[in-house]
């Protein structure tokens, strides 16, 4: 059930985003609570991934993007002048649809982030790599071959390695953009279990096309359509008795 007393981790107000002349996000306001899993659902092109990327300023990298409105992380506007985007993305990590390990060893993939943030001590790095791989529920599968190429892992293992890599820099928020859409049901189930385990320590926002996945893993669900946030509520409410007709039509497959 919705627990309104939970601390807000991200607060977004009146967010508008234009790609050139396309008004991709329109007046989006939402509160994302700490240590909860928030799912974004909606048809292709509805703006959910674009919105996810506004939460750690990944859209800054795209030409012609204009953003208005505010996105606050722990009360601080991440679009304010002087915000260090490298530091922001350390605090708000991202997992992509397609696993993208570096063409390096398993160990180096996880150690890379902490190293560029200044961690040099081998023993500390070793401990951090193990801790991150354990948190990503992949340690037992790779502990004896840490120096093997990450590219030799299966798709599901690669995705969990990418999660370990994201965890290694000690983020506060994890953004996941369809993290299991390319995985088989078993690998998907492991990612979903992992999401459930990780929410005790992190705030997680997940974009998914899989309605049942949103229902299984998230506490809150937001439905986007044509760049607008149509409905945001506790997940159990969205999937049993949504308030908006558009939400109901989408989740029951009657859309369009």
């Amino acid at each position: 059930m919705t627990d309104s007393n939970k601390t807000l981790k991200l607060t977004v107000r009146d967010l508008n985003l234009h790609y050139g002349i396309k008004h991709a996000l329109q007046d989006v306001s939402i509160d994302i609570r700490e240590h909860r899993v928030t799912a974004f659902i909606g048809p292709s092109g509805c703006g959910k991934s674009t919105f996810l990327r506004t939460l750690n300023r990944m859209n800054d990298l795209i030409d012609g993007v204009k953003i208005k409105g505010s996105v606050k992380l722990d009360g601080q506007d991440i679009y304010a002048n002087g915000v260090d985007t490298v530091e922001l993305r350390k605090r708000v990590g991202m997992i992509f649809q397609k696993s993208n390990p570096f063409p390096k060893s398993i160990y180096e993939n996880v150690a890379y982030g902490p190293r560029i943030h200044g961690l040099k001590d081998k023993a500390t790095l070793d401990a951090l790599v193990e801790k991150s791989l354990r948190q990503a529920a992949i340690w037992d599968e790779v502990k004896d071959e840490l120096h093997k190429s990450a590219l030799a892992l299966s798709g599901g293992q690669q995705q969990r390695l990418c999660i370990a890599r994201a965890l290694a820099v000690d983020p506060e928020v994890l953004l996941m953009d369809e993290p299991a859409s390319a995985l088989d049901p078993l690998a998907t189930s492991k990612i979903e279990e992992l999401v459930y385990e990780l929410k005790d320590r992190y705030t997680i926002v997940i974009v998914t096309h899989n309605m049942q996945q949103a229902a299984r893993v998230s506490d809150d669900t937001a439905f986007f359509y044509m760049g607008k946030l149509i409905e945001f509520d506790a997940t159990e409410r969205i999937f049993t008795s949504p308030k908006e007709r558009q939400t109901e039509d989408y989740i029951t497959g009657r859309f369009g």
Binding site: M211, Q212, T240, E248, T252
Partner: protein
Amino acid sequence: MERHFERDLDQLRRKLEEMVGLCTDGMNAAAQAFVEGNAQAAERAFLNERRINQLEIEIDHDVVDCFALFQPVAVDLRFLLAILKINNDLERIADHVVNISQSAVSCAAQPPATRLELPRMFMLAQNMFADACRSFFEKDLQTARMVLETDDMVDGLNRSTTREAVQMVKAGTLSLEAALELMRIARNLERIGDLSTNIAEEVIFHVQAKVIKHHGDENK
């Protein structure tokens, strides 16, 4: 584009309509058996009950298939949950109709004055049942709420029937055996009223996602 899930839902709806038709026919037969002592009518209620039992199993099975294959949500989920419960309510109503039929034939031998409030109870229970089922198929909340309000009347008639039957036994104007049969019919009609109320509650759950049984979240 029509989803094939819609066709499965339509098929379930049709099976439930068949069950409702059989229950209605059984109730009419039981009422006829009560008024006329018509043993053939009573037999019809028994036969209907067999088909209702078959349909109950088929509907249960179909609903499980729908859950497993389509993972329904929102209005579809509520519809299937409502079907599952109404299916069970209908099967129990059919059992009560059989109980009534068993007692009805023997009561018909009694003079009309000893039928107490039972003709009125029959009429009210039949109407409640018909309205509850119609409100489900037509998603008619107003009628569903009306059914809920009628239940108190049926409960009251059950109590007055029992009270009057006891008085008549004491006064020697009704045999103990006849009184027991009358009270049995009244109790079963009262249960049909309760089960019709359950159906009406499912209508409100299906249409409005509100649970009102035991005054659940009536005011939410």
